[in-house]
């Protein structure tokens, strides 16, 4: 899922400082699961914005709502429920949601309340780790299911590098060397010889370096 973190409050309050009434809009997708922008976080942020404005001697009205998703046109239409009740939307969805609102509501002001961080999963309660970089050319079948693009600090295709010490990455002792883990795992699953295969120079054109990416499924279009 997409992992996000709430932006600093002064940044958010600064965005809406001229507004009189705002819609704080959550998303029941990824940001609910990672506790960044679901219904509960909407309630908290709305309160904090009101307090932040009070601190500045201003008053702001907040309307709270949460859509099933903010990354689908059909759900964005749900915003109409609050029509006329806000000057601007503060979206707690990932950047996709903010873009969708901006795309589909050309005259509506929309501001991001979270920083969209990475694709990851919860490794422990309250802990999320990056697992995938969305590079568009998956090599997990060659690396024992562990991603060197997202989880190696250098995104090396032929690791480990000289900075790997006792299974830890040189950037920080808390960070595992994913190439050490790939090596160990390939051994455990009887495929250690895969480490001897030299990966060729990688074509990164699928990784967003050629502009925004698009997927078109003819079998699904109407």
């Amino acid at each position: 899922m997409i992992i996000a973190d709430r932006k600093p409050l002064d940044e958010i309050v600064g965005m809406v400082s001229d507004a009189k009434k705002i819609l704080v809009l959550g998303c029941r997708g990824c940001v609910t699961v990672c506790s960044a922008g679901g219904e509960r976080e909407v309630e908290i942020l709305a309160s904090l914005i009101r307090l932040g404005m009070l601190k500045q001697g201003k008053k702001i009205e907040t309307v709270e709502g949460t859509l099933v998703r903010q990354c689908d046109k059909e759900y964005i239409d749900g915003i109409d429920e609050w029509e006329g009740q806000y000057d601007a939307i503060v979206s707690m969805a990932c950047g996709v949601g903010v873009n969708f609102i901006a795309n589909l509501r050309p005259t509506t002001k929309v501001y991001p309340a979270v920083n969209t961080s990475f694709f990851g999963g919860s490794t422990d309660q309250g802990v999320w780790m990056e697992q995938c970089a969305g590079c568009g050319n998956c090599v997990l079948h060659l690396t024992g299911g562990l991603c060197p693009v997202a989880r190696c600090a250098k995104s090396l295709m032929n690791g480990p590098c000289g900075g790997s010490v006792n299974g830890r990455c040189e950037i920080h002792p808390d960070v595992e060397c994913i190439w050490q883990s790939i090596h160990d795992r390939l051994g455990r699953i009887g495929n250690a010889e895969a480490m001897n295969v030299i990966a060729p120079i990688r074509d990164w054109s699928t990784a967003g370096h050629g502009g925004p990416r698009k997927t078109l499924r003819d079998d699904l279009t109407i």
């Binding site: 600093p8 409050l9 002064d10 309050v13 509960r40 309630e43 908290i44 309160s47 904090l48 009101r50 307090l51 932040g52 404005m53 009070l54 601190k55 001697g57 201003k58 008053k59």
Partner: protein, 140 residues
């Protein structure tokens, strides 16, 4: 001009036994400041961040939570959860340039004991010294 802070206290079923048993007069005799309003909840772990923020929105100058000792919560981890939420609010207050010490968590034994009164007195002195909460400025 003297300032009497509005302090809202959220106490769990167990740590607030004194407030229920003694009533207002008894609490006053114990030395509890009269400007503290007690809210009794089943467990501090049930308290939401938004509930505590709402207290500030409604005009509190200070807020505190009294839950069981960390390792003796009747609901195992309720008071630990509450403590985490109080820390989250402290961070949010700091982000808004408001003194984080306007909210506090206390872990106290259940029943009647001087520490319950001391916590109230400590918060009353602290908030009185800090002065009115900056959220209470006149909104334009």
């Amino acid at each position: 001009m003297t300032f009497t802070p509005d302090i809202q206290a959220f106490c769990c079923h167990y740590t607030s036994q004194q407030t229920i048993a003694e009533g207002k007069k008894g609490l006053k005799d114990d030395g509890l400041p009269a400007n503290i309003t007690f809210h009794r909840v089943v467990c501090t772990g049930k308290l939401q961040v938004s509930t505590l923020l709402k207290a500030f929105e409604e005009g509190a100058d200070g807020v505190y939570v009294v839950g069981c000792p960390e390792d003796k919560c009747h609901n195992v981890k309720g008071s630990q959860r509450a403590a985490k939420r109080v820390v989250a609010i402290k961070k949010a207050l700091a982000e808004l340039a408001v003194e984080p010490e306007r909210i506090e968590m206390f872990h106290l034994e259940r029943g009647f004991h001087p520490e319950f009164v001391e916590a109230a007195q400590l918060m009353n002195k602290r908030i009185t010294d800090l002065g009115p909460c900056p959220f209470k400025g006149e909104a334009k």
